[in-house]
Protein backbone atom coordinates (compact mmCIF):
# COMPACT_ATOMS: atom_id res chain seq x y z
CA UNK A 1 0.00 0.00 0.00
CA UNK A 2 1.71 3.14 -1.18
CA UNK A 3 -0.53 5.64 0.52
CA UNK A 4 -1.46 6.13 4.13
CA UNK A 5 -5.13 6.05 4.88
CA UNK A 6 -6.88 8.00 7.57
CA UNK A 7 -10.28 6.79 8.63
CA UNK A 8 -12.98 9.26 9.34
CA UNK A 9 -16.03 8.16 11.22
CA UNK A 10 -19.47 9.67 11.61
CA UNK A 11 -21.09 7.94 14.53
CA UNK A 12 -24.38 9.64 15.20
CA UNK A 13 -22.85 13.09 14.94
CA UNK A 14 -25.48 15.69 15.68
CA UNK A 15 -25.59 18.85 13.60
CA UNK A 16 -28.30 21.18 14.90
CA UNK A 17 -31.38 18.98 15.19
CA UNK A 18 -30.37 16.65 12.37
CA UNK A 19 -28.72 13.36 13.25
CA UNK A 20 -26.31 12.33 10.51
CA UNK A 21 -26.06 8.66 9.56
CA UNK A 22 -23.19 6.58 10.97
CA UNK A 23 -20.45 6.25 8.43
CA UNK A 24 -16.80 5.28 8.30
CA UNK A 25 -14.74 6.76 5.51
CA UNK A 26 -11.11 6.60 4.47
CA UNK A 27 -9.03 9.28 2.86
CA UNK A 28 -5.46 9.41 1.65
CA UNK A 29 -3.41 11.68 3.91
CA UNK A 30 0.08 11.09 2.61
CA UNK A 31 2.25 9.07 0.28
CA UNK A 32 5.56 9.03 2.14
CA UNK A 33 6.79 7.29 5.25
CA UNK A 34 6.06 3.89 6.65
CA UNK A 35 2.97 2.34 5.12
CA UNK A 36 0.50 0.39 7.18
CA UNK A 37 0.60 -3.38 6.88
CA UNK A 38 -1.71 -4.45 4.09
CA UNK A 39 -4.19 -6.12 6.43
CA UNK A 40 -4.25 -3.39 9.05
CA UNK A 41 -7.02 -0.80 9.06
CA UNK A 42 -6.44 2.57 10.66
CA UNK A 43 -8.27 3.42 13.87
CA UNK A 44 -11.48 5.40 13.42
CA UNK A 45 -11.55 9.11 14.13
CA UNK A 46 -14.24 11.78 14.09
CA UNK A 47 -14.24 14.40 11.44
CA UNK A 48 -15.90 17.27 13.17
CA UNK A 49 -16.84 19.16 10.04
CA UNK A 50 -14.30 21.87 10.79
CA UNK A 51 -11.38 20.05 9.21
CA UNK A 52 -10.17 18.77 12.57
CA UNK A 53 -9.89 15.04 13.15
CA UNK A 54 -10.52 13.81 16.66
CA UNK A 55 -10.27 10.35 18.18
CA UNK A 56 -13.55 8.65 18.87
CA UNK A 57 -14.87 9.41 22.35
CA UNK A 58 -13.42 7.13 25.02
CA UNK A 59 -9.77 6.40 24.37
CA UNK A 60 -10.15 2.82 25.59
CA UNK A 61 -11.34 1.57 22.21
CA UNK A 62 -8.53 3.34 20.36
CA UNK A 63 -5.99 1.93 22.79
CA UNK A 64 -7.47 -1.54 22.48
CA UNK A 65 -7.43 -1.29 18.70
CA UNK A 66 -3.82 -0.11 18.69
CA UNK A 67 -2.86 -2.78 21.20
CA UNK A 68 -4.42 -5.50 19.08
CA UNK A 69 -2.63 -4.29 15.96
CA UNK A 70 0.68 -4.08 17.75
CA UNK A 71 0.33 -7.49 19.34
CA UNK A 72 -0.45 -9.00 15.98
CA UNK A 73 2.28 -7.07 14.19
CA UNK A 74 4.85 -8.08 16.79
CA UNK A 75 3.68 -11.70 16.44
CA UNK A 76 5.95 -12.70 19.27
CA UNK A 77 4.17 -13.64 22.46
CA UNK A 78 5.83 -13.07 25.81
CA UNK A 79 5.81 -15.53 28.67
CA UNK A 80 6.13 -15.20 32.40
CA UNK A 81 9.19 -17.47 32.36
CA UNK A 82 10.88 -15.44 29.64
CA UNK A 83 10.25 -12.12 31.37
CA UNK A 84 11.42 -13.48 34.71
CA UNK A 85 14.68 -14.79 33.27
CA UNK A 86 15.50 -11.55 31.45
CA UNK A 87 14.59 -9.44 34.47
CA UNK A 88 16.76 -11.64 36.68
CA UNK A 89 19.77 -11.48 34.34
CA UNK A 90 19.52 -7.72 33.83
CA UNK A 91 18.93 -6.87 37.49
CA UNK A 92 21.69 -9.26 38.61
CA UNK A 93 24.05 -7.44 36.31
CA UNK A 94 23.25 -3.94 37.55
CA UNK A 95 22.73 -4.89 41.21
CA UNK A 96 25.43 -3.40 43.39
CA UNK A 97 26.73 -1.15 40.65
CA UNK A 98 27.29 2.37 41.87
CA UNK A 99 26.28 5.36 39.82
CA UNK A 100 29.46 7.40 39.61
CA UNK A 101 28.90 11.14 39.38
CA UNK A 102 30.11 12.73 36.18
CA UNK A 103 33.43 14.48 36.42
CA UNK A 104 32.76 18.17 36.24
CA UNK A 105 35.02 20.11 33.95
CA UNK A 106 36.97 22.81 35.77
CA UNK A 107 36.15 26.33 34.70
CA UNK A 108 39.15 28.43 33.84
Amino acid sequence: MAEKLMASGYAGLTVGETRMPQRIGYSITGSAGTPLPSDVRPAPVFETGTGRLEPIPGPAEVVRTAGTLIREAAVLPTTEEGNELVDELLSKHTQGLVVRPLERRLKK
Binding site: D39, A73, A74, V75, E81, G82, V86, V99, L102
Partner: protein, 189 residues
Protein backbone atom coordinates in the same frame (compact mmCIF):
# COMPACT_ATOMS: atom_id res chain seq x y z
CA UNK B 1 20.53 5.19 1.68
CA UNK B 2 20.36 3.55 -1.71
CA UNK B 3 16.97 2.05 -2.48
CA UNK B 4 18.43 -1.30 -3.41
CA UNK B 5 20.03 -1.53 0.03
CA UNK B 6 16.85 -0.72 1.87
CA UNK B 7 14.78 -3.32 3.63
CA UNK B 8 11.01 -3.06 3.62
CA UNK B 9 9.71 -0.99 6.54
CA UNK B 10 6.75 -3.11 7.58
CA UNK B 11 5.95 -6.69 6.70
CA UNK B 12 2.89 -8.79 6.52
CA UNK B 13 2.24 -11.20 9.34
CA UNK B 14 3.07 -14.31 7.34
CA UNK B 15 6.46 -12.98 6.33
CA UNK B 16 7.30 -11.97 9.88
CA UNK B 17 6.28 -15.35 11.26
CA UNK B 18 8.43 -17.03 8.61
CA UNK B 19 11.48 -14.96 9.59
CA UNK B 20 11.09 -15.89 13.22
CA UNK B 21 10.72 -19.56 12.33
CA UNK B 22 13.96 -19.39 10.32
CA UNK B 23 15.74 -18.22 13.45
CA UNK B 24 13.99 -20.69 15.73
CA UNK B 25 14.90 -23.62 13.46
CA UNK B 26 18.52 -22.61 13.02
CA UNK B 27 21.03 -25.11 14.39
CA UNK B 28 23.66 -22.42 14.45
CA UNK B 29 21.81 -19.24 15.37
CA UNK B 30 24.94 -17.07 15.22
CA UNK B 31 25.59 -17.99 11.58
CA UNK B 32 21.96 -17.32 10.63
CA UNK B 33 21.71 -14.15 12.67
CA UNK B 34 24.66 -12.14 11.41
CA UNK B 35 25.54 -10.87 7.98
CA UNK B 36 28.87 -12.11 6.69
CA UNK B 37 29.07 -9.31 4.13
CA UNK B 38 31.63 -6.56 4.36
CA UNK B 39 30.51 -3.98 6.90
CA UNK B 40 31.93 -1.11 4.84
CA UNK B 41 29.18 -1.02 2.26
CA UNK B 42 29.34 2.40 0.63
CA UNK B 43 25.62 2.26 -0.20
CA UNK B 44 24.72 2.14 3.49
CA UNK B 45 25.31 4.51 6.40
CA UNK B 46 28.38 3.72 8.52
CA UNK B 47 26.02 2.39 11.18
CA UNK B 48 22.62 0.70 10.86
CA UNK B 49 19.88 -0.24 13.29
CA UNK B 50 20.77 -3.62 14.80
CA UNK B 51 24.53 -3.20 14.48
CA UNK B 52 26.75 -4.20 17.37
CA UNK B 53 29.01 -1.27 18.15
CA UNK B 54 32.34 -1.45 19.94
CA UNK B 55 32.89 1.52 22.25
CA UNK B 56 34.27 1.34 25.77
CA UNK B 57 32.39 3.94 27.77
CA UNK B 58 30.44 4.30 30.98
CA UNK B 59 26.69 3.92 30.56
CA UNK B 60 25.13 7.30 31.43
CA UNK B 61 22.06 7.32 33.65
CA UNK B 62 20.15 9.61 35.99
CA UNK B 63 20.76 8.20 39.47
CA UNK B 64 18.46 7.92 42.46
CA UNK B 65 19.44 11.48 43.39
CA UNK B 66 18.13 12.62 40.02
CA UNK B 67 21.60 13.65 38.92
CA UNK B 68 23.54 12.40 35.89
CA UNK B 69 26.18 9.78 36.46
CA UNK B 70 27.66 6.70 34.83
CA UNK B 71 27.28 3.03 35.57
CA UNK B 72 29.81 0.38 34.61
CA UNK B 73 31.96 0.60 31.52
CA UNK B 74 30.25 -1.06 28.57
CA UNK B 75 32.28 -2.53 25.73
CA UNK B 76 29.54 -3.39 23.24
CA UNK B 77 26.25 -1.67 22.39
CA UNK B 78 23.30 -2.38 20.13
CA UNK B 79 22.09 0.38 17.79
CA UNK B 80 18.35 1.02 18.18
CA UNK B 81 18.36 4.40 16.38
CA UNK B 82 16.67 4.42 12.98
CA UNK B 83 18.90 3.65 10.01
CA UNK B 84 17.13 6.39 8.03
CA UNK B 85 18.19 8.96 10.63
CA UNK B 86 21.77 7.71 10.42
CA UNK B 87 21.60 8.40 6.70
CA UNK B 88 20.54 12.04 7.13
CA UNK B 89 23.04 14.94 7.31
CA UNK B 90 24.67 15.03 10.73
CA UNK B 91 23.87 18.70 11.23
CA UNK B 92 20.18 17.87 10.79
CA UNK B 93 20.14 14.71 12.92
CA UNK B 94 23.24 14.69 15.18
CA UNK B 95 22.20 11.87 17.52
CA UNK B 96 21.44 8.19 17.40
CA UNK B 97 20.53 5.76 20.15
CA UNK B 98 22.27 2.73 21.62
CA UNK B 99 21.46 0.28 24.38
CA UNK B 100 24.15 -1.52 26.37
CA UNK B 101 24.86 -5.20 25.78
CA UNK B 102 25.11 -7.08 29.06
CA UNK B 103 27.72 -9.85 28.87
CA UNK B 104 26.23 -13.16 30.03
CA UNK B 105 29.41 -15.18 29.43
CA UNK B 106 29.90 -18.35 27.43
CA UNK B 107 27.25 -21.03 26.81
CA UNK B 108 28.74 -23.14 29.61
CA UNK B 109 28.50 -20.27 32.08
CA UNK B 110 24.92 -19.50 31.10
CA UNK B 111 23.56 -23.09 31.08
CA UNK B 112 21.67 -24.72 28.24
CA UNK B 113 18.11 -24.33 29.53
CA UNK B 114 18.50 -20.59 30.12
CA UNK B 115 20.09 -20.12 26.72
CA UNK B 116 17.23 -21.99 25.13
CA UNK B 117 14.73 -19.75 26.94
CA UNK B 118 16.50 -16.58 25.74
CA UNK B 119 16.40 -17.82 22.14
CA UNK B 120 12.60 -17.84 22.28
CA UNK B 121 12.57 -14.02 22.42
CA UNK B 122 9.60 -14.10 24.77
CA UNK B 123 10.56 -11.23 27.10
CA UNK B 124 9.76 -7.54 26.83
CA UNK B 125 12.74 -5.76 28.30
CA UNK B 126 15.73 -7.53 26.81
CA UNK B 127 16.86 -8.80 23.41
CA UNK B 128 19.13 -11.84 23.21
CA UNK B 129 22.25 -11.27 21.09
CA UNK B 130 24.22 -14.37 20.05
CA UNK B 131 28.00 -14.35 19.51
CA UNK B 132 28.98 -12.68 16.26
CA UNK B 133 31.60 -13.67 13.67
CA UNK B 134 35.05 -12.45 14.63
CA UNK B 135 34.04 -11.82 18.24
CA UNK B 136 34.31 -13.94 21.37
CA UNK B 137 31.97 -16.82 22.25
CA UNK B 138 29.96 -14.82 24.77
CA UNK B 139 26.19 -14.44 24.72
CA UNK B 140 24.69 -11.05 25.47
CA UNK B 141 21.45 -9.33 26.36
CA UNK B 142 20.52 -5.87 25.09
CA UNK B 143 19.00 -3.87 27.94
CA UNK B 144 16.08 -1.90 26.45
CA UNK B 145 15.62 -0.03 29.74
CA UNK B 146 18.90 1.90 29.43
CA UNK B 147 18.99 3.70 26.08
CA UNK B 148 21.82 6.16 25.50
CA UNK B 149 22.23 8.99 22.99
CA UNK B 150 25.40 8.83 20.90
CA UNK B 151 26.63 11.79 18.92
CA UNK B 152 27.06 10.71 15.33
CA UNK B 153 30.43 12.45 15.20
CA UNK B 154 31.78 9.36 16.98
CA UNK B 155 30.35 6.96 14.41
CA UNK B 156 32.97 5.17 12.37
CA UNK B 157 35.86 6.57 14.40
CA UNK B 158 35.46 5.97 18.13
CA UNK B 159 32.32 3.88 17.78
CA UNK B 160 32.69 1.19 15.15
CA UNK B 161 30.21 -1.42 13.99
CA UNK B 162 31.62 -4.91 14.47
CA UNK B 163 28.57 -6.96 13.46
CA UNK B 164 25.50 -6.38 11.31
CA UNK B 165 22.21 -8.27 11.38
CA UNK B 166 20.72 -10.10 8.43
CA UNK B 167 17.27 -9.09 7.31
CA UNK B 168 15.29 -11.61 9.35
CA UNK B 169 17.20 -10.93 12.56
CA UNK B 170 16.67 -7.19 12.06
CA UNK B 171 12.94 -7.82 11.58
CA UNK B 172 13.00 -9.73 14.85
CA UNK B 173 14.74 -6.83 16.62
CA UNK B 174 12.30 -4.38 15.08
CA UNK B 175 9.36 -6.44 16.33
CA UNK B 176 10.83 -6.68 19.83
CA UNK B 177 11.41 -2.92 19.95
CA UNK B 178 7.81 -2.27 18.92
CA UNK B 179 6.61 -4.78 21.48
CA UNK B 180 8.71 -3.13 24.21
CA UNK B 181 7.68 0.44 23.42
CA UNK B 182 4.01 -0.32 22.89
CA UNK B 183 3.39 -2.79 25.68
CA UNK B 184 -0.27 -2.66 26.66
CA UNK B 185 -0.70 -1.97 30.36
CA UNK B 186 -4.43 -2.55 30.53
CA UNK B 187 -5.21 0.80 32.14
CA UNK B 188 -8.01 1.51 29.64
CA UNK B 189 -9.55 -1.95 29.71
Amino acid sequence: MADEGRWPPVYDFGELAEYIQILARADDLAATFWSLAELRDERLPAMCQGDVVELVAGAPVLGEDGQPGVLEDVEHWLVIGNTCDLDRPIDKVPWTQLVPLVDLGSAEELDASRLSQLMRYDAYRGFYVPPWPGGDDHHRLADFLRPVALHRGAVGTLAKSVARMREHSWVLLHSCLVRFLAQDDGRHD
